[in-house]
Point group: C2
């Protein structure tokens, strides 16, 4: 897992910039009706006219050594994840992702084969989510790898969910479960250290497979967007969980001008994550509040919509919005109210 | 010019990511009618519906030590230029730029004041070109500064100029003059070396002021787009000159399936650039063909449109497109035909 034993190394300098881009993007098909001209001109040409939909636009920068560690992040997974984190932002607007651009810079330590793997992951994400790669830039860096992705999406104007629409009394709902991606990271970092000491060790990662997958191959909850539409539920506010539950709740409260009561006992956790927390001597609630990178959706709904969502075992009502004057609190299992902070309520 | 003597240094770690973004982007106003939600949510919300215009989308990655050198590139200029190079791509589609996103990564050697200067340049470019900053990402890097800009623009469908529409017989037109940005770079690199040896030297840069400005503060030819519309001239193909004239001509020929005769004597050069070429013992034609970064527009027009453009002293007909079988050639002052290559016809 950790060592790259790839024997073939084609120096990027052998190709020019334009043949390289052509080579890396040749397998990408155009599927969106709004994509008129993709890669190959000064700019892509898109057609968002003639429909009533609005366009959403988001961008993220991922830097080796800051956002990812290639010691345990396979390049194909990195390509996939770097697209997904942007599509997650599109979904958090209650919009359907449509196009991306991908810019990559690499130092001369990366051969062509490394970029091919990265683009395989980008291609898989494009195929999985039905988005078109329509542009980008490929260049050299003085150190390491960096990836800049921009994503576009479309939404009916009345469906767009901002961070700012929550009202006191609205229910706070989260999809999936939390903390897995953080635990996955802990496991991978531990194995990296073990590997440094003993490169021949054969770790048993099976008990952590769920958490590791959450870290290495997260998904954007495009399915939730479709399901909200099917149920006829319009979130009053929405955000994706990239930085941890408490940070995202505070964003919703700040932008909506409301407070919040979050119930510790309601926070959804996977059993394998709870077990791993015990092993790592971490508090599962802290991990969920501050871990980040789960890319689940956090949204508020009107109380009257509760009957529409209550049958869904993968969506959990974890609290409710209050008047801003009440503040933002975690209600613990012991029924204590603790102020919610962006760092969680306990230090790691 | 070269040394940053800024005494005030506010550590970026003192601010969090979100207060930092808020601080840096607080002076930015929204001016485009298509911008509905700018910075501050998971994504920007834009409205391109309800008009017949198409959207163009382009992105560029600029990396310290590869694309710019902070030894002679002031941060404000860098911010301005990094926006302009993207707007130039929008203009090269015959489109009007409307929005940008700006993502920045910096190592801990940069204080808040450095980012403020950079954003002043970004703000000036936004104001000058009437585009809205609607998103981005601010993060730390392990080494140096990098900037990723994405730009959007709008164009009437029938006005979009691709690289692929040139026909044999079309005239090849270039705006402004060429080679200045490259000569500016030579001057700045020379002064950097002089400064290393003698930090107290006072160079007389006045003779090179035009070339230095071309390098440090290029402009996107938005005026040309407006003027083409006014004249009723539709370019059959268009590209901007970022990599040098010969490389861009070869792109047009390749994508249009045509050949080209380029006349050396027609290539527009500024007198101060010709003088500096003599001093640096460079061939001015080579500099224009291979220098790059001039951000002028290169386009083809039908011969029947020639009367409409011939009165413009800032646009020069430098050649004409031929049948692909004829090939791509430079016709020298001595009336010799030399094959055009992406590296120019002589080595630097």
């Amino acid at each position: 897992m950790i060592e790259d034993k790839t024997p073939q190394r084609t120096d990027l300098a052998q190709l020019g910039e334009f043949p390289l881009i052509k080579h890396l993007t040749k397998g990408f098909a155009i599927g969106q009706p709004t994509t008129h001209v993709g890669i190959g001109d000064d700019a892509a040409v898109l057609d968002f006219s003639g429909s009533a939909q609005k366009t959403v636009l988001t961008t993220d920068l991922l830097i080796e050594g800051v956002h990812f560690d290639l010691a345990y992040m396979p390049l194909k997974h990195l390509g996939y994840k770097s697209v997904v984190v942007n599509l997650s932002d599109v979904c958090a607007m209650n919009a359907q992702p449509t196009q991306i651009t991908a810019s990559i810079a690499v130092s001369n330590r990366f051969p062509l084969e490394a970029l091919e793997e990265l683009y395989q992951g980008i291609a898989l994400a494009c195929k999985t989510y039905g988005v078109d790669l329509v542009g980008g830039d490929t260049t050299s860096s003085t150190k390491g790898m960096l990836i800049s992705i921009t994503a576009l999406g479309l939404a009916e104007p009345e469906k767009i969910a901002l961070r700012s629409g929550a009202q006191p009394g609205d229910l706070l709902v989260v999809t999936g479960d939390l903390g897995g991606a953080y635990i996955g990271l802990q496991v991978l970092q531990r194995e990296k250290e073990v590997f440094k000491v003993n490169p021949n060790s054969q770790p048993d990662l099976e008990p952590y497979s769920y958490a590791i997958e959450r870290q290495l191959k997260p998904e954007a909850r495009k399915d939730v967007i479709a399901f909200l539409a099917e149920l006829g539920v319009q979130p009053t506010s929405m955000i994706d969980i990239s930085d941890g539950l408490s940070s995202e709740i505070l964003h919703l409260c700040d932008r909506s001008g409301v407070g919040c009561d979050l119930y510790e006992e309601k926070i959804p956790l996977d059993p394998t994550v709870i077990n791993a927390c015990e092993e790592f001597q971490l508090n599962p609630t802290t991990v969920a509040l501050s871990g980040g990178e789960d890319y689940e959706l956090l949204f508020t709904i009107k109380q009257e919509d509760y009957p529409k969502i209550k049958g869904n075992p993968h969506w959990t009502v974890i609290g409710h919005m209050t008047d801003a004057s009440v503040g933002t609190h975690l209600v613990t299992r012991a029924d204590q109210k603790i102020p919610l902070t962006a760092q969680g309520w306990g230090a790691f």
